[in-house]
């Protein structure tokens, strides 16, 4: 049986609210938790095979040029080394999210320092590493563009990424208040704790690959295209993924290198990127330079918004950080300009890092809005509320559901915004308060799942969807348990196997909505089948704790299933509700910082986020997603910054000692609250994405609090001491 829904119409039945099991939306423990606390969850580099060899990638050391050969013979003579490989199938960089085909390939053309151009395979990891470090590359240097900010650098302005409406110039001239500023953000790295790794082996023409991937449906095709084989011959496994944050959307160079070596040598081969290689190979968030123009009337109501963003990227990559993504819909203004500019550079490939677009674009906008609040003297919360549009002004679309005002009020109340004291101090610390809005576009992707109701009353949920830490195992279990009245301990959820029904995968905050809706669809069909057996309408059926109840008569589910399992494949795909409506999640951030009046050091003291993301599927995992996003925002505001050598594009701080992600001591008391919302346009569960909203604007709240504390406006992130100290009053 199949159940398929194209989301062309809103579904405001809120059917999940009618269910009786009481499992969905609760803080149910994640089912795979016990494996993760005992070290028995199997990540990509844990499917060790008998006779497995180890491969270590070799990096290019010039920014542009050609690889003319490698001194393989010398390395192949080293003890334990089996093979040195390079060639036209090596990936220049990972595939972009949903690419569904091979990225640029080939060792002979070098495009950036750190490009993986060769592989040394050996009996032991140590011998492979030593061989890789010893391998001499014969390279001819070409002409590189190493610095995106250099004078006279060529700038692309793709026609599709420019839009104009009204007359912004006139609006700026006529405005009672204006902001006209440039904001810059540095590059970021996803830095998932699990480095990208792969273990590959072949059985004839069948490839089995354990890899760190977020989107298996696309990844299988990317692997197959890269190797020149039929996708049917690729079996990809990623049951547990040690974080992704966008960096594992597409396949990475390790996967193809492992497959090539395993084929060549006829044995299983593992390739794990070193942490430095993760930084150099696997997608950076582009740095941005953003020019904002805000034109407001005497009441602070925006009449115009201009947003021009410049990003960088390798040649021949279509992805460009979509910096202006939220600008068209967040605030009012009939005069609008949004423009994207792209500079081609010889640096690590730019790609998706948690919330591409809004993470940096909304952060800059929310700093600009704070500048407008200061200029107008209007409370920042009130200013934002005055600027909430009735429909998306830049797109001329209605909103599917809009809870920004509620999120602003809720956050302000919980934080105690009205009670903040101007000019407070704590010893030598200057105390300040800041806030910002949160927003992130919402979407679904086509997704399939199989749900099996067994004769013994147990449930099996199967999809190639991944759990990258987000809580997929938990929420799919909860959705099915709720719909079919089956307790958690009688449900098994299997994920991360490309042989299972194809899902949208994890990315763009769409995983829970997409995969969850496919499970929902399958379960709805199963409910109809059960109802038919009881001669009742599905809507009149109550399923709870393995028992079906209709007209005061109780029947065990096991009596209704019969001898053969009931199996349904459910599917969802996006339709008109995604195209014709602006779907988005909204929220607010409030925080308190202390700025040391002697050193300029910033310490976040507390932070709150209120978020509206439709139906919340698991209170605990949703909260954790938001806490995680907010912590990314703390990093963005205060510490995270990729630094390239302007002479050759070389990434200088390519490890976790020099690229500073927030640690426990950087993260104080954080709190999260959810606004009740059902978005009927999103999907039949009325749920929306939650994985990225927590980073979108979070950094701005901190930057704005620093201004409140010190009067220093940081427009170049992160707000390190050197940027604050010169503006502080003499002690």
């Amino acid at each position: 049986m199949n159940a398929h829904l194209k989301m062309d119409k809103p579904d405001d039945r809120n059917r999940l609210d009618d269910m009786a099991q009481g499992l969905l939306g609760t803080a149910m423990d994640r089912p795979e938790g016990p494996l993760k606390v005992t070290g028995t969850a199997t990540y990509a580099h844990e499917a060790h095979q008998p006779g497995m060899l180890h491969g270590v990638l070799v990096r290019a050391t010039i920014a542009r040029g050609t690889l003319d050969g490698v001194e393989a013979a010398a390395v192949e003579k080293m003890p334990g080394v089996r093979k040195v490989m390079w060639g036209d199938k090596f990936l220049r960089n990972p595939a972009q999210g949903t690419a569904n085909k091979a990225p640029v390939q080939g060792s002979s053309e070098i495009y950036y320092i750190g490009q993986p151009v060769a592989l040394v395979v050996a009996d032991s990891f140590e011998a492979a590493r030593h061989g890789a470090q010893s391998l001499e590359l014969r390279m001819t240097a070409g002409t590189a563009v190493p610095d995106a900010k250099a004078d006279g650098v060529a700038v692309e302005r793709p026609e599709k990424k420019q839009s104009s409406m009204g007359d912004l110039k006139a609006a700026m001239q006529d405005a009672a208040f204006t902001v006209d500023q440039r904001y810059t953000t540095p590059g970021h790295n996803s830095a998932p704790m699990e480095p990208h790794s792969a273990i590959a082996w072949w059985d004839g023409d069948q490839l089995t690959l354990h890899a760190s991937n977020q989107m298996l449906k696309y990844n299988v095709n990317e692997v197959a295209d890269s190797l020149g084989i039929d996708p049917e011959n690729v079996h990809l496994l990623a049951p547990y993924v040690g974080g992704g944050f966008g960096s594992k959307l597409g396949i990475s160079p390790d996967a193809v290198a492992a497959a090539l070596a395993a084929k060549e040598l006829g044995v299983p081969v593992s390739v794990m990127l070193t942490r430095q290689q993760v930084f150099e190979n696997v997608m950076r968030r582009s740095e941005t330079a953003q020019d904002f123009q805000l034109a407001a009337d005497k009441d602070g109501v925006l009449r115009g918004i201009g947003h021009t963003a410049r990003v960088s990227q390798l040649p021949d990559e279509s992805f460009a950080e979509p910096v202006t993504q939220a600008t068209p819909f967040l605030y009012k203004g009939e005069n609008r300009e949004t423009h994207m500019e792209i500079v081609r550079v010889n640096q690590t490939c730019a790609g998706s890092v948690r919330a591409p677009g809004e993470a940096v674009g909304l952060t800059a906008l929310e700093i600009a809005m704070d500048e407008l609040a200061v200029a107008t003297g209007i409370d920042p919360v009130e200013l934002r509320k005055r600027n909430i549009p009735d429909r998306s002004p830049g797109e001329d679309k209605p909103f599917s559901s809009h809870k920004l005002a509620e999120a602003l009020d809720d956050g302000a109340a919980i934080f105690g915004w009205a009670d903040r004291k101007k000019g407070a101090t704590d010893g030598e610390w200057l105390i300040g308060y800041g806030m910002s809005s949160a927003a992130r576009v919402n979407m679904i992707g086509e997704s399939h799942a199989r749900v099996t109701l067994n004769p013994d009353g147990t449930l099996l949920i199967e999809t190639d969807m991944t759990d990258i830490g987000t809580g997929t195992y938990a929420i799919l279990t909860q959705i099915a348990g709720e719909m079919l009245g089956v307790p958690q301990d009688r449900i098994e959820t299997r994920l991360g196997d490309s042989k299972l029904p194809k899902s949208a995968g994890s990315g763009g905050s769409w995983g829970a909505s997409s995969a969850g809706s496919s499970v929902y669809m399958a379960c709805e069909k199963l409910r109809q089948t059960i109802a038919a057996k009881l001669n009742c309408d599905e809507g009149d059926l109550t399923l709870k704790d393995g028992t079906a109840t209709f007209a005061n008569k109780q029947t065990p589910l096991t009596d209704l299933v019969g001898d053969a399992p009931m199996v349904v494949e459910g599917a969802i795909e996006p339709g008109k509700t995604q195209k014709d409506f602006r779907q988005a999640t909204f929220g607010s951030f409030f925080c308190e910082v202390g700025v040391n009046s002697v050193t300029g050091e910033v310490r976040l003291r507390r932070m709150h986020g209120s978020f509206a993301a439709g139906r919340i599927l698991n209170a605990k995992t949703a909260r954790s997603q938001c806490l995680g996003g907010m912590t990314f925002g703390i990093g963005m505001a205060l510490t995270e910054e990729l630094i390239q050598d302007t002479r050759d594009g070389h990434l200088v701080n390519h490890d976790l000692a020099e690229y500073h992600i927030p640690v426990n001591a950087d993260v104080p008391q954080l709190s999260v609250n959810f606004i009740a919302e059902r978005d009927p346009y999103a999907n039949p569960m009325q749920a929306k994405g939650i994985g990225e909203l927590g980073i979108c604007g979070a950094g701005a709240a901190i930057i704005n609090a620093i201004y409140d504390a010190t009067g220093v406006r940081v427009r170049d992130l992160p707000a390190t001491m050197d940027k604050i100290l010169p503006g502080l009053p003499d002690v």
Partner: protein
């Protein structure tokens, strides 16, 4: 160099309470020995230079970085990994608290986090939230569940004190 890397060294140590004898490459780190030679994949290599704590294991009673210690240096040592600590039940309340508080998301940092937390909990008294944050600041979590991790450790410390075991 090549000769040094090809050297093999015989070691004898105790891992999770069991005697182990092995011949290891001189350059093999303890975490790789545990993972590749013994199949104990609970400790994870992540930063590979002692910063992130994902490879934290217990050696002679102390939490150490498995990526900074050579296997050869562990000759004669008493090594405990998350697998062994799970089997003894020493961590069971802390593990349960981690699951209950959602103090893990992707879970890659979790084994190291547990070993580091256990070291703190072995000290007398109930640590403050500040002390927990300080102690665990060498254990990175990029899913950034720090708040929940502190909750889990604090509640475990409280429960142990209530039971009179700490």
């Amino acid at each position: 160099m090549t000769a040094v890397f090809s050297d093999r060294i015989d070691i004898a140590l105790r891992v999770n309470g069991e005697e182990v004898e092995a011949r290891v490459p001189a350059g093999r780190h303890l975490v790789d020995f545990l993972r590749l030679d013994l199949g104990l994949t609970g400790a994870h290599a992540s930063c590979e230079h002692g910063v992130c704590g994902a490879c934290t294991v217990k050696v002679d009673g102390q939490a150490i970085r498995g990526c900074l210690m050579l296997a050869a240096q562990a000759d004669g040592a008493d090594v405990w990994t998350v697998e062994g600590l799970s089997d003894t039940g020493d961590l069971s309340d802390l593990q349960a608290a981690f699951v209950a508080r959602n103090a893990l998301q992707c879970g890659f940092c979790t084994p190291g986090m547990l070993v580091a937390a256990q070291e703190l909990l072995a000290q007398p008294g109930i640590p403050s939230r500040h002390a927990i944050r300080e102690h665990l600041s060498g254990n990175y979590c990029r899913c950034t569940g720090y708040e929940a991790i502190v909750d889990a450790i604090e509640s475990t410390a409280q429960a142990r004190a209530d039971r009179g075991v700490a």
